[in-house]
Amino acid sequence: MADEVILLDFWVSPFGQRCRIALLEKGISYEYSEQSLAQKSDLLLRSNPIHKKIPVLLHAGRPICESLIILEYIDETWSDKSPLLPFDNPYARSCARFWADYVDKKLFDSQTRLWKLKAGEADHEQAKRDMVETLQTLEKELGEKDYFGGDVFGFLDVVIVPFVAWFYAYERFGGFSVEEVCPRLVAWAKRCRERESVSKTISDPEKVYEFALYLKDKFGAK
C-alpha cells in the first residue's frame, strides 16, 4: 500500500519506544517489525546503510532514521492531531529540542556505563554520579509542571518516558534510590504511565533489568 508505515525496532529500545508512543498518540496504524541486532536483516541494512541501527520508520517505502528525527517527521506529516511540538511557539520548540539533545547526550551514556562498568571501580562511581546529576537536572527542568511541555503531554515527555522503565535497573546497578534523587520525575513517570500510549509501550522494569544483566554478561567490563 502506498502510505504503509513500518517501524523497524527492537523490543526494549527506548529510542524505538519513543516512535511507538508517538505513532499511538497520533492514532497511526503501522506494522511493527522486530529486528535482530545480532543478525541484521536486509531490510534494515538497506533502510539504514550508514548506521545499521533501529529505529527506522518506513513511510511509503522511504526510510527515516534517528529517533528524534522520526518524532519530528511523524509530527510534521500527521500534523492534524495531537501535536508533539507546539506549532505556534518557536521558543517552546527550541527548549524541547535542546532538552531532547541533552537526554541523548547524557542519559543513555550514563545508563550504559552503569551496567557496563564494574561496581566499586572509580569509573563506575563516576557513572553513578553522572546519572544522579542527569536525573537531578531533569528534575529541575520539570519543576512543578505536570509534563515537560507544561500542561500537555508532548515531545520531550515522549523522548524521556521510555527511560523510566530503566529506573529500577539504575537503582540495582547504581545502588541509589531514584525516588530520593528525583521524586517529581518519579511522579511524572506515574502520570505518564496513565496514558495508554505509554503503558502499552514501555517495558516492564524487571525485564529491562534482566536485559541489562544479559548485556553486562556479554559486553561488560570483566
Binding site: I50, I69, Y73, E76, P90, Y91, S94, F98
Partner: protein
C-alpha cells in the same frame, strides 16, 4: 507629545520589528560561525558578544547553565543554546526573513536533519579530538575518521544533489546541511597546517571541494569563517595549557 515606546538606545541592535538579538560566541568556533552565517542569510541584525572561555561571563553562565558553552542566542532576553537548535529556531521565529534553512517537505527535512547530525557526529567529533588530543596518533586516527565521513557525504551529494544539478545540499540555495558542514571549512585549512592532513581533498572528494568554493564565495559566508590559519593556531594554544 510623550511616546509610550521606549527610546532606542545607542548601540542597541534590533531588527526592523524591534526584536533584540544577542549572539554569545567565540570567533573561531564552527558552531558560532554557522549561526552567524544563518543570521546573515536571513538579513537579521544582532549584537555579537565575544566570550572569553577561560573567564566566562555571567550572561553566558546564566543563559546556558547546563552546558556553559557558546553559541547562545538571546532573543528578547530568552536564551537558546546548541547550534542546530538555534538554526532551527531562527527558521521558526523568522519565517518571513528571506531564506529558510530547512525545506518544507517533512521527508526532505528528515533527510537534512539526518545529515546535519551525521556531520557534527562524524566530522565534528574528530575535529575536537584533532584539536585537543595529546598524542599525534590520536589526532591522525581522528582525521582518518573524518576523511571517511567526508567520502560518505560526497557519495550522498553525488547521488542526490549533483544528480539534480543542485549547487548546494539545500538545493539552489544554501540550506541546513550546507551551514553545518560549511562551518568547518576554515578549520580544515588549519588542520592541514597542524598535522599535515587534508580533511577536504579535491582528489578524494571533488564534488565537496567544488561545493566548498561555492559556499565560501557566498555573501553570507564571507568574513565569517576564520581565514588566518596562524591566528587560529595561536588562539588554540591558549586552550591547551
Amino acid at each position: 507629545m510623550a511616546s509610550s515606546k521606549p527610546k532606542k538606545e545607542f548601540g542597541n541592535m534590533t531588527d526592523a520589528s524591534g526584536d533584540e538579538l544577542k549572539l554569545l560566541g567565540v570567533w573561531d568556533s564552527p558552531y558560532v560561525n554557522r549561526v552567524q552565517i544563518v543570521l546573515n542569510l536571513k538579513g537579521i541584525s544582532y549584537e555579537y558578544i565575544e566570550e572569553d572561555l577561560m573567564n566566562k561571563s555571567d550572561l553566558l553562565l546564566r543563559s546556558n547553565p547546563v552546558h556553559k558553552k557558546v553559541p547562545v542566542l538571546i532573543h528578547n532576553g530568552k536564551p537558546i543554546a546548541e547550534s542546530q537548535v538555534i538554526v532551527q529556531y531562527l527558521d521558526d521565529a523568522f519565517p518571513n526573513a528571506g531564506v529558510l534553512l530547512l525545506p518544507s517537505d517533512p521527508f526532505e527535512r528528515a533527510v537534512a536533519r539526518f545529515w546535519a547530525v551525521y556531520v557534527d557526529d562524524k566530522v565534528g567529533s574528530p575535529w575536537y579530538t584533532i584539536l585537543f588530543a595529546k598524542e599525534r596518533e590520536e589526532k591522525l586516527e581522528a582525521a582518518a575518521r573524518a576523511i571517511s565521513a567526508m567520502e560518505t557525504i560526497e557519495a550522498a551529494f553525488r547521488e542526490k544533489n549533483a544528480a539534480e544539478g543542485a549547487p548546494f545540499f539545500g538545493g539552489d540555495g544554501i540550506g541546513f546541511v550546507d551551514v553545518v558542514l560549511g562551518s568547518y571549512l576554515g578549520w580544515f585549512r588549519v588542520i592541514e597546517k597542524m598535522i599535515g592532513v587534508r580533511i577536504l581533498d579535491a582528489a578524494r572528494t571533488p564534488l565537496l571541494a567544488a561545493w566548498a568554493e561555492r559556499f565560501e564565495a557566498a555573501d553570507a559566508v564571507r568574513g565569517v569563517l576564520p581565514d588566518d590559519v596562524d591566528k587560529v593556531i595561536d588562539f588554540l594554544q591558549t586552550f591547551l595549557h
